[in-house]
Symmetry: C4
Subunit: 393 residues, 4 copies
């Protein structure tokens, strides 16, 4: 039972981590979501021939079936989450069921079951709830986590910007109400009505259904509106910059995991690995350029971020790709490069210079001892295997 | 009397600094402001039942009462402001009364008292002045200071951008006036009228109430308008980037205050603390990772920006949170870590490497002597207390 | 004669460099420009009473007089420009007369003289040429140079973005023409007409005078328009980022000039000063904090970017402001601070740490020798004067 | 034959690399494209006199002729591409023919030949295909590669943003459909119709042909639309920042190539050159400033990014420009500057300090030996030539 659960967990949650059956599972669900949401959207077009509406009903049944199975599976394997805090299986599952994504999963299939149970539900509301299924997509692209993280990180500036925007909106709307409510009582008859105009204007949508007609109102569209438009640009700027910064932070985590995979560094603590990751220097190499040459002094180790490189070995070329590294010998002794390595494509590498690394070692003799020991072990293993990995160039 | 004043000052001005009674006071006022402004906004909707308009009047009375008390309190405790320059109580209070926020506070409650005194006041103007109460919100979010600081910092680029925008606006409007004033004398009859079109167009609001109809006017909406739109994007870009930069500067101040709180650094001068703050390296640790391990060489001290960490002590886990630090022993001797510390949540830490710190000490022997002395004192105190803080891991 | 010319040159061109009579001259001209342009703009409002139109005519005469005198003066003193290349006075002046700003100066006053000489000129064109006077403003704010520099620096990305935008515009317009030219032959009858729609849409102005009405046209406003809007956002982003970068570069020049003013550095070459400027660390000090304390080791020199600081001297406090520096003694010997210096306002300082500076000296023994010599000279001078500047704290 | 092919390859593909006959070839084609596309665009204006339409036909014939020749030439010389992978000439050419730019080249001239062969083709489609010729422009500005590279680099964030935008669009459109489809069944009758409104609104185009009229719909234009507009700003921000970052990366490649051209560095591996390039410090020098002075210690080598400098030599001034470097002697011995070098214009230089360089050498004794050897060779050559290049100042 528990073994089964573990396997299902790997499939259901492993797609993002690149586990192939997990990716197939994700791909299947993404397809169902896209087809189903398209059917829901087109289902509101009443002139379509009855054939299509029939098809859409069938798609709905299949999709709700798939989503129900998915939900039950996720609930079942919630116990396998290594980050779970509560040990009791019921509490752990309840906790999962209360996460935002799990709630959306339930709410999005609810209209179908309510309809089955003949519970009356407003068709408009049903459409809205069913459309929520698109949110499930965000789980698979990682965008849900990403946006959540950005909102959390930029909480303070966004709140400050929201306060500025609210004040700007109220001030501009009140001014418009003052100027226009006598000339256009049907359009600017109250501040809430003027606020509709304010939002449409300050967001620069500018439908033109409400426009100032008095000279005062026209003049008003000048200075304060320009200021208001500036204020409305603030949250967009903050969101965009927060988004980009969070993506850079994730790039750093990728680097971190890359470093953590190197045998030499595997036993280091998280912070120590972060230090190593932060002294890596990004290097971009053009396709065709030689990164290391046989016989050169080995003075740096390289981690491959993107691109492919070719190692010239006596047994023909060996290709290294994203996530691999080469030249680690440089960190242990000042030997010579044993092979020439050429960039096949434009490559982004991270270079750890031996000198920087030695500088780091000086400040922590412990790390040095550990590395000497690991290196000795590794050398012994290497001699045992009678071969040398191309990564030791 | 003076003790009372000091207590009231702590409550009235201490919310931003996290003093709990001050936060309660702020929360109360924020609630009153939001309820009151909502009532003012809805009060302009004339079709609402009389019950609501009655309720709004009551809210107004309560809110004005609260704001009046608040204003009097702030005026009273203005003497406690540690940054005040003038010693004479009347001058110090007058000076406070003339700050922009204090003026807004008075102006926003003025219509109520003028009405009470039967001074005739235009109802539109009264609504506008009352709506100013929303500005009070900015005091509590810190957004008022923030925007002011950004405007001050980016003064020069904003002025340059404003000059560029003005010239672009006048040129585009004059061209539109030339092209259209014969075809549409009612809409483009003068340059000021064309400038209304210019602002609506260049800010990309684009209502569509004024549009070019002549071929020349249409062609005009091409090249110069595109250039003009580019120019209008400048101030928004400057504001957004200034906003983000100011927030980063404030993050630095948070770091600075974090460092200033460490006993070792408390007696350093402001500039020396800034130096320490600037050599701190940001490190992001994922939930579950070990930051330091018992028995490792202690080679860095960590300051917690966000997140929680758990120290494994013989008496069970101890949790460290934002603003705390650990591992400071590393700066004094090259001892071993006495406990393992694990990240409970994703954490942002600032790491001060012993090597960097020693490098700093080399250039200022004074600082070293001071630290040796403080460390000796602290060690003695620690031995006296017979215990060791978890922060000394 | 030449002495007079030199004095006039200092007044006419010295405003930007802070020479007081030059600033008065600039202020006078800026006032004339603003008043005159306002008069030109309002002069197109035909309903204004005759009095105003009369006033505007008088303003025009005075303004053209002032601008003519200004132009002649600038032409006369063009010989004094230290950067001029041609020695012959006529050629040097001709060269000045052909700079963009000088051409605008002539063109902007031309309509007046043409009218005087009874040369017929279209009144619309005359208004346009007169409105060009606003461009003169850009000379005084430095915005003209700034925008020119940004366009020059970002030439390549802007050209690439312009190519992308043109292709996007043509493609979207051609698609709209295909979809709509049969349904709306009056609005989308040709590609040029559709391009008017394309510009209005892709710049997000969106008047709404031309909108797609066919289902294909509606669908078209979807994907390609969203892509097109993205492309149109490129040049705005490039301009804004180029603007901010250029302003940062100018900040560096301010630092450079600040460093170049320090007696110790005055004889260094430009590149050497740039090196010193680049190792300065920005430090922000809050009002009230002590930057250096009497008796501390003098280990850094500070340059004041913004804000004011107070030196406690036996003769009372001395205030230091923007552009001044203190603590330079730290670069010469490792003496003690002779006074405590406190920040009066929030200050942005640049700190040059003695250690960094010594590191720089190690790599260029020449610089060290030069500094020793200057320091010796300066010490002698200081002893002669019998006083020590507060900047030597 | 092969020699001819090589020459033609140099002309056809060498324009971007600055080969003069290649630039002439590019200029000719760019002119033909611009004239031809203008003719195509104006050709859709039906009221133009017959003369023009005749002229446009002639332009079409000439242009298609030129493009056909260009296509055949490019296909012929595809074998010369040094990056080609397949050796077989037919496969190599087929591979070229299937690149996006080559496909566009064919498709854009197809309508002409189809018309010649009397194959019926919809005139609208023909116009669209012919308008594709503008895409050819992107080849010459490098913008095609640039946009492709940005899309590739920012793939992940753009996908995440696209998911967020799609969800926001569907949610806002569904809400609008719910609120408005009863009040305005002709405009908001289905979700696809509401999505047209959603795109027009969230991209802030805001035509105003569809606007909410119910109170609920109006309220809706508030909160979710503001959020949606924020989401729509994400991809624009990512594109702009990716564009700027890619341009910076290309600047780094320019630096890299600049460094790679220095004789001293020519034999280094790509990664080693990248290291040298990354320790270069940008320095901006104002026109007229002295960069090095005769007799100073030679402690840095300078690479010229932009601007011109003047070397004072006994034989009169020698001018150095973009791509040149000076002061390389500083890397070999600590000699004295042999000439004063002054900036003629504002210059952007890259400075390689001798100290940084020596620091680099310490960590790779190999590099040092190589440099000593090259320096010895170069010195011998210099003595042979009996002259010294001004770049050795």
């Amino acid at each position: 039972m528990q073994r089964w659960r573990h396997t299902v967990y790997a499939i259901v949650e492993g797609g993002q981590r690149g586990y192939p059956p997990g990716r197939a599972f994700d791909l299947f669900l993404v397809t169902v979501i896209l087809v189903n949401v398209t059917a829901i959207v087109l289902g509101t077009v009443e002139d379509l021939p009855a054939f299509w509406h029939g098809l859409f009903s069938h798609i709905e049944v299949v999709a709700v079936g798939a989503f129900t199975v998915e939900y039950v599976l996720r609930l079942w394997v919630a116990l396998e989450d290594p980050r779970r805090i509560y040990r009791h299986p019921v509490i752990a599952r309840l906790r999962y069921a209360l996460t935002p994504l799990a709630i959306i999963d339930v709410v999005a299939i609810l209209p179908f079951y309510l309809h089955l149970l003949s519970v009356p539900i407003d068709p408009s509301v049903a459409v809205l709830l069913r459309a929520l299924r698109l949110f499930k997509l965000l789980r698979f692209t990682g965008a849900f986590d990403l946006v959540g993280e950005v909102l959390r990180n930029e909480r303070q500036p966004l709140l400050a910007a929201a306060a500025v925007v609210s004040v700007a909106l109220l001030m501009v709307s009140t001014l418009a109400y003052m100027a226009e409510h006598e000339a256009q009582p049907d359009k600017f008859g109250s501040i809430p009505a003027a606020m509709y105009w304010g939002i449409v204007t300050l967001s620069t949508v500018g439908y033109g259904d409400l426009t100032p007609i008095t000279p005062w109102g026209g003049a008003l569209t000048g200075f304060p509106v320009v200021l208001g438009v500036l204020c409305f640009a603030l949250p967009a700027g903050i969101m965009a910059s927060g988004f980009i910064e969070e993506l850079r932070r994730r790039d750093f985590m990728v680097t971190w995991h890359l470093v953590a995979k190197v045998p030499l560094f595997q036993r280091l603590s998280a912070a120590r690995i972060a230090t190593v990751a932060s002294i890596l220097k990004p290097v971009r190499i053009e396709a065709g350029a030689q990164v290391v040459r046989k016989g050169d002094a080995a003075d740096a180790v390289y981690f491959i971020l993107t691109g492919a490189l070719e190692v010239e070995t006596p047994n023909g070329p060996v290709v290294l790709g994203t996530g691999e590294f080469f030249g680690e010998r440089a960190l242990l002794d000042s030997g010579r490069r044993s092979a020439t390595i050429t960039a096949r494509t434009n490559c982004d590498l991270l270079m750890l210079q031996a000198a920087d690394f030695r500088h780091l070692l000086e400040s922590s003799p412990d790390l040095e001892a550990e590395i000497r020991r690991i290196a000795a072990e590794r050398g012994a293993k290497s001699r045992q295997a009678g071969a040398e990995s191309p990564a030791s160039a």
